[in-house]
């Protein structure tokens, strides 16, 4: 009985939350004129035109290419963030060094400037490195742990681990590197998984950075292709735009559904009990 009530409560919350997504999905089967004119959820007469317009190519570049590019960029960024941010976070959370306070404050400050304007000098740097119009300006910053959000996230998770654990390991003769790999990392797996998932999804959706750094249409990612449909003056493009949006959610939804399982296997199943 209580179980049924619980399911009911969850579902009652989900209905309004998922309504906009449902609307978007249904709208992707409507003709353009109906999208802007009608609030109705169901299409008057469902059409596939919006999807058919996506099956060809975009000025010579096949649509699957954008999916592949986005996957490379998002996957690369996710892997890079997990590796680099966990290293930096361990230093901030567990090691003592003179500049710790200052550097930590500086790290947080780096995400307080609006990204639009920071991109301007960063573009010049990548331009001088000759890396513009490649995936490097998108992935290299992640390799160098410039994503303070995730460094801070991991710091917070590492700090919830009782210090006696590493003390014990240290007495057993482990150095910092062993402790990091054998004790800390397994314990913060939820944070690592979170980092990977978020980085992947946020990169998948990020428009601005990819717009600035990628120039050749063959290197375009999904968000760039998606935006080609958003000519504000062009209502005909609303349909294909929604169709592409609906399609673009599918891989990241699957991605999330596949990896969210790892989120539950945190402390409880890691075998180390506090």
């Amino acid at each position: 009985m209580r179980r049924a009530l619980w399911h009911l409560a969850v579902l009652a919350l989900l209905v309004p939350l998922l309504y906009p997504i449902l609307w978007l999905t249904f709208a992707s089967f409507k003709p353009a004129s109906e999208i802007v004119q009608s609030l109705a959820l169901l299409p008057r007469d469902a059409i596939l035109d919006n999807y058919q317009r996506l099956t060809g190519d975009f000025a010579g570049v096949p649509a699957w290419r954008f999916f592949v590019n986005s996957t490379i960029v998002a996957g690369g960024c996710a892997a890079a963030n997990v590796a680099s941010c966990s290293l930096a976070a361990y230093a901030f959370a567990r090691l003592r060094f003179r500049l710790r306070g200052v550097l930590f404050a500086f790290m947080l400050a780096t995400i307080m400037l609006p990204v639009h304007i920071v991109l301007l000098p960063q573009y010049t740097i990548f331009q001088r490195l000759g890396l513009v119009d490649s995936f490097w300006p998108l992935i290299l910053p992640k390799l160098l742990a410039t994503d303070a959000f995730f460094v801070f996230l991991m710091v917070q998770f590492m700090r919830t681990i009782p210090r006696e654990l590493d003390e014990a390991a240290r007495i057993d003769g482990c150095g910092s590197i062993r402790i990091f790999g054998a004790v800390v990392l397994p314990l913060v797996r939820p944070a690592l998984v979170t980092t990977a998932i978020f980085t992947f999804i946020w990169t998948w959706n990020d428009f601005l950075t990819q717009l600035i750094y990628l120039s050749t249409p063959e290197k375009y990612t999904l968000p760039l292709a998606l935006r080609l449909f958003i000519d504000q003056t062009d209502q005909n493009s609303y349909g294909p735009m929604l169709a592409l949006s609906a399609l673009a959610i599918v891989p990241i939804l699957l991605f999330f559904a596949a990896f969210q399982r790892l989120l539950v296997e945190g402390f409880a199943t890691s075998g180390l009990k506090g």
């Binding site: 400037l113 639009h116 304007i117 920071v118 301007l120 742990a145 917070q156 910092s176």
Partner: protein, 278 residues
């Protein structure tokens, strides 16, 4: 501190981060600080103007204050509501059930869309009457932010997983009720994660951009009611080519957000508990 620890080990762990700071973040930040004291149109050399940009912003530019007001309102409304929703849902679905994965994905689904143009289109259709109304347009954007509470929710869930089950067992043995357990165990154990979400959400809310940009077609309208700080900054920099002014706005934002963050850190000493506290 344990013996045998050399500070060089710390810098070894930090080396990628230090390289990133030196190569990609510190330089641009300082360059923008310099630009904030100049007149810079992006294409010709910057002209030093001292404090001019800051003075103009604070004394003669009415839109600046509209932007500060709209942004402050947004931060004050969206951050607490979003965090409460995220924590509430995380607590609700954090129980053993075969449906849990499905529920988690479903609650996260709105966040998968990001603040994309498609979402803006949906929002326009649903909140049709609000978006043209100066009194309610901001509310539609707050709702958009709250609707996408997936990220803090997932972080809360991860945090809940991190709490050793033995603590709950002990509480159950002591006969503590559900509310008591929440106050005595969940909240303090979760406090580092709550703190993290609070700080990052606040920083991000101050920089809110995309939703307002696409919903108002970049104008921040109606009547400046959704003219968020970064929206106005973007307009100054990239539409008006007043990059010096935009840089000054950016640095002022940094100082303001840093002050708020410092304040949060200060209060955190009394309510955030770390496992490594001596």
């Amino acid at each position: 501190m344990t013996t045998g620890e050399r500070p060089s080990v710390a810098y070894l762990f930090l080396s990628p981060w230090i390289a990133g700071a030196a190569l990609l973040t510190a330089g641009p930040m300082l360059w923008l600080l310099y630009l904030s004291f100049t007149d810079y149109d992006m294409f010709t050399a910057p002209q030093w103007v001292g404090l001019d940009n800051y003075v103009r912003m604070l004394t003669v530019d009415p839109h600046f204050w509209n932007a500060v007001l709209a942004t402050t309102k947004f931060v004050v409304f969206s951050v607490p509501v979003q965090l409460a929703a995220a924590l509430g849902v995380a607590m609700l679905i954090n129980r053993r059930s075969r449906a849990q994965g499905l529920y988690r994905s479903s609650f996260y689904a709105p966040s998968l869309l990001g603040a994309s143009v498609s979402v803006a289109l949906v929002w326009r259709v649903i909140f049709h009457d609000w978006i043209g109304d100066p009194d309610r347009a901001l509310l539609a954007l707050v709702l958009l932010a709250v609707w996408q509470f997936g990220a803090p929710m997932v972080i809360f869930l991860a945090g809940l997983q991190q709490i050793p089950p033995e603590y709950y067992d002990a509480a159950a043995v002591d006969g503590a009720g559900r509310w008591r357990t929440f106050i005595a165990i969940t909240l303090p154990m979760l406090s580092p994660v709550i703190f993290f979400n609070l700080v990052l959400d606040t920083i991000r809310a101050f920089q809110v951009f995309t939703g307002a940009y696409v919903l108002s077609n970049g104008t921040g309208g109606p009547s400046d009611s959704t003219l968020f700080y970064t929206l106005y900054l973007y307009e100054k920099g990239f539409v008006e080519f007043r990059m010096g002014y935009a840089s000054a706005m950016a640095w002022l934002l940094l100082v303001a957000v840093a002050a708020v963050t410092a304040l949060l850190f200060r209060t955190s000493r009394s309510w955030v508990f770390y496992g490594d506290d001596a």
